[in-house]
Symmetry: C2
Subunit: 214 residues, 2 copies
């Protein structure tokens, strides 16, 4: 199936596709075969119209009056997102947040596999976190190549984040999910997504302030 | 100063204001008094034009050819976001992620203060995390009222997230930053922001796939 049209897809649509996927996998685990758009969107605070519009970028998936085939839709969205194959990930920096992310329960049913963890702290190197032995950051190039990792989760201190991401780019890393509390420079060859907890809270504080005025 | 105009402000602008603020606070800590827009945006991968456009929603802040007064701009943006006063926050659920978030180093310089942590696991209640004693979730209503908390970070298992957020709404909580790997229902009276690590990775995987095709 030729899933992708040439239109520019809004980032918010991509984010919602992930949410649909999470919901569909949950339904699939419950052995649901066919589902209505209402059922998919009900728990996501998204309208059925939005759901249909998001899917319409990529083609026709449902059957009017019948619904969506859960398995087919899962495979289709995975194909759109490029997560139809196992994606191997490394965590760089195993402080508290890095360690917590290695054990993150939300990866269940997703095709992400954390295959390595690195730190430069001698006290952490060699320790076991979940099923991984923490590796020495000095070996990052060799190990990431050996493990064919293209995507990392970065959880190093703010002062180190830019230098480390420069190094990672040289090691062939193509995408970084950055949890370090600093926006890292996006080099042209890198895809970067920054998750900044304090900024999220500020955004929430702003919405709260606005709501209070309503 | 009458900082806010009546226009609807894009969410992305609010997100960027947080980033500017982080950068400005860093400059302030380095005792920088006046700064150009270039210097503020350089490390954020944001153009100066974007920066000026974002600020323009709220008024005039800089002096052409002179730059921005760092202290003044910090106070102005804090006022816009509603984070000019200390904001007291509780963490609900002190598994690995909740625990890591209590110790999150990115709150430095922000006016968020984590004042309480709750769990329903008897093995965790009474334990000390950073400077907090973990409280019993059964006391959440009484304690949140006593501590005048309006905003929480939610890090409970997916299956519990919706029920817990219902309870929190009844306790007077107005805003939730949700790290549980499920989108929680947004009740009208609640501001919710969901941080879903797996969805972030999927968004990144999609961008990577697209880039590879370029």
């Amino acid at each position: 199936m030729n899933i992708e049209k040439k239109t520019e897809i809004p980032q918010e649509t991509i984010r919602r596709l992930s949410l649909y996927l999470r919901m569909l996998r949950r339904l699939n685990a419950q052995d649901v075969k066919v589902v209505s758009s209402d059922k998919i969107t009900k728990f996501l605070n998204i309208s059925s119209e939005q759901f249909r519009k998001d899917l319409s970028y990529f083609g026709e998936f449902g059957c009017r009056g019948v619904g969506y085939n859960v398995n087919f839709l899962i495979r289709a969205i995975e194909k759109i997102l490029g997560t139809d194959k196992i994606c191997r990930i490394a965590v760089i920096g195993v402080g508290k947040l890095g360690t917590a992310l290695i054990g993150y329960p939300g990866f269940t049913d997703f095709k992400f596999q954390i295959v390595a963890a690195f730190d430069n702290d001698p006290a952490k190197i060699g320790k076991k976190i979940e099923n991984l032995i923490v590796l020495d950051s000095a070996d990052v190039k060799k190990e990431l190549k050996r493990l064919a990792v293209k995507m990392v989760i970065l959880a190093v201190p703010a002062f180190a984040a830019n230098a480390v991401s420069e190094d990672l780019a040289k090691c062939g890393i193509k995408a970084i999910l950055n949890f370090s509390p600093i926006n890292i420079n996006m080099r042209r060859e890198l895809c970067v997504s920054n998750v900044d907890v304090a900024c999220e809270l500020e955004g929430l504080a702003y919405r709260l302030k606005k709501k209070m005025k309503e």
